[in-house]
């Protein structure tokens, strides 16, 4: 179980995703924060009132998907790197996913890299669409990848071959 492995179950993961209709409308944050820890910078960062933690900063963040614009500021601020952005509005076959990536070398836009699941296992090749590393993200680059829709709920990380 989660406390032994660090891998959430499919059931736990699905609860963090908005309904597919919302994902197909446009970019939206998936906040994979499953346990209560004293932490709330995601709420502080969001300019659109799309995340709520509340008075007790141990509360698990609640997403208000209808307000989320998928701007990814929360993604760059989350100390646990627990947030990803998914966008199913661009194509029938693929989804765009934004993930934090704090390693070198950074991939290049247009490059194909290995897509990994939550266990770090290879699931599919993915195309790097964008690499954003503005100063405001404080050394947490955000990579946008294009993934086959089949892997929407599995894709979580990438491996850049040196």
């Amino acid at each position: 179980m989660f406390e032994k492995t660090g891998i959430p179950s499919a059931e736990m993961i699905m609860k963090k995703f908005p309904p597919i209709e919302r994902i197909n409308k446009g970019a939206v944050a998936v906040i994979e924060c499953y346990k209560e820890i004293p932490c709330n910078p995601c709420e502080t960062a969001c300019k659109f009132d799309a995340i709520n933690v509340g008075e007790d900063i141990n509360s698990i963040p609640k997403a208000k998907f209808e307000n989320c614009t998928g701007c990814a500021i929360c993604l760059s601020k989350c100390p646990g790197l627990a947030i990803m952005i998914v966008d199913g509005s661009k194509s029938k076959d693929t989804v765009e996913v934004k993930i934090p990536y704090e390693f070198l070398p950074l991939p290049k836009e247009g490059q194909f890299v290995k897509g990994l699941n939550r266990e770090g296992s290879y699931i599919t090749d993915v195309k790097v669409l964008k690499v954003l590393a503005p100063k405001s993200f404080d050394r947490t680059p955000v990579i946008t990848i294009e993934v086959d829709r089949r892997f929407l709920y599995e894709i979580r990380n990438i491996k850049v071959e040196v």
């Binding site: 989660f2 406390e3 032994k4 492995t5 660090g6 891998i7 959430p8 994979e32 924060c33 499953y34 346990k35 209560e36 820890i37 004293p38 932490c39 709330n40 910078p41 502080t44 960062a45 007790d56 900063i57 141990n58 601020k77 989350c78 100390p79 646990g80 790197l81 627990a82 704090e102 390693f103 070198l104 990994l116 699941n117 939550r118 266990e119 770090g120 296992s121 404080d138 050394r139 947490t140 979580r156 990380n157 491996k159």
Partner: protein, 360 residues
């Protein structure tokens, strides 16, 4: 003999915040730190911190000393800093003895002192645990993040608490392979977001496993691990061998506060606070008048709590020696509220249980 108003021993997160708080109240402050630079363990923490805005959540640990020192600069008339200065003793007459650099030895007579000396690392017993290549987490972080040197090429991490998980991630950022993370406990002890980050990089976390022995001639070459049962006894036949040149032992910290015992403060062993801690009141004053404490020296917790404890101890120490500004009550209540916030969840239960036992 130097005279001082408030002496703060330790310039890490707790000490720096205590200095800021005391100076804000109007007191003169002398910070003593044995290292060349202020910041304590903050200078090695490349990751973003948790907590809330007031504890600099989302800021990287490495950036926090500069923020605090910039703040301190506003009170530069009131603040004196001595680095490469080790407080070697604290005596019944209140005198603190200091050895600065190699040979400058002097005494200080403070009105109040705040001990913010942090914690030190625990270790594990197993055959050949003295081989070069077996390090504590602090040493690995110092090598990587301060000196820019890889500790080795392949690491076995022992300990899946926050430090073990965070240092594993930092090792990978430094280009070092982490073969696996072990923990004798049946569950991962650190924040699960840290664990998830590591797992999605393909690093296995082996709970209920411990080190059986290290192997090597002049330095570490292999490690034998085995599974353990609920009573932490090794299960025969479950041995696995890892070819690694580094083993990082991250099995917890214990408070570093002998100065307080030397001074005559009442000390108590509290497992939930990870070791021997001073008995204290809610102002963070020990059983010896005008001797205060803050940070991991009062119980191993998190940097966020250390900072707020520092703010609180600094405020109270300054008040005790006569500096009680108009906003004293507001500040005190704010610091207490922040600490409650940090500790009110499941992550803070054991801390609260520990604190209950050290009330004066």
């Amino acid at each position: 003999m130097k005279q001082a108003e408030i002496v703060i021993i330790g310039g890490g997160p707790a000490g720096l915040c205590a200095a800021l708080s005391a100076a804000k109240s109007g007191s003169n402050v002398l910070i003593i730190d044995k290292n060349k630079n202020l910041g304590g363990q903050l200078i090695k923490q490349t990751h973003m911190f948790f907590g809330s805005e007031k504890q600099y959540a989302s800021k990287r640990g490495i950036d926090i000393p500069e923020i605090l020192i910039d703040e301190l600069f506003k009170y530069k008339e009131n603040i004196e800093i001595k680095t490469e200065a080790t407080a070697v003793g604290m005596y019944e007459d209140g005198i603190i003895t200091v050895l600065e650099k190699e040979d400058n030895y002097y005494k200080i007579e403070p009105k109040a002192v705040i001990v913010a000396t942090g914690a030190y690392e625990k270790f594990l017993s197993f055959p050949n645990n003295d081989l070069p290549g077996i390090y504590g987490a602090g040493a690995v972080q110092t090598l990587m993040n301060v000196y820019g040197v890889k500790p080795g090429n392949k690491v076995l991490m022992v300990g899946a608490g926050n430090i073990g998980l965070i240092v594993s991630y930092q090792l990978m950022q430094a280009g070092v392979e982490v073969k696996a993370i072990l923990d004798a406990a049946p569950k991962i002890g650190g924040y699960l977001v840290h664990a998830s980050k590591i797992r999605r990089m393909g690093v296995p976390i082996l709970t209920s496993h411990t080190v059986k022995e290290a192997i090597g001639n002049e330095f570490l070459e292999k490690v034998v691990i085995s599974e353990v049962d609920e009573k932490f006894n090794r299960i025969k036949g479950t041995e696995m061998i890892f070819d690694v040149d580094v083993m990082c032992i991250s099995v917890g910290l214990t408070p570093l506060n002998e100065l307080l015992a030397l001074r005559g403060c009442e000390m108590k062993y509290i497992p939930q606070l990870s070791g021997i801690v001073p008995v204290r009141n809610e102002n963070y004053e020990t059983t010896v008048e005008n001797v205060f404490v803050a940070g991991d020296a009062t119980g191993v917790e998190e940097a966020s709590a250390a900072m707020v404890e520092g703010f609180l101890a600094g405020l109270c120490a300054a008040a005790k020696i006569g500096y009680k500004p108009d906003d004293f009550i507001d500040r005190k209540n704010d610091y207490i509220k922040q600490l409650n916030n940090l500790r009110s969840g499941p992550a803070g239960k054991h801390i609260l249980a520990g604190i209950e036992q050290i009330g004066r």
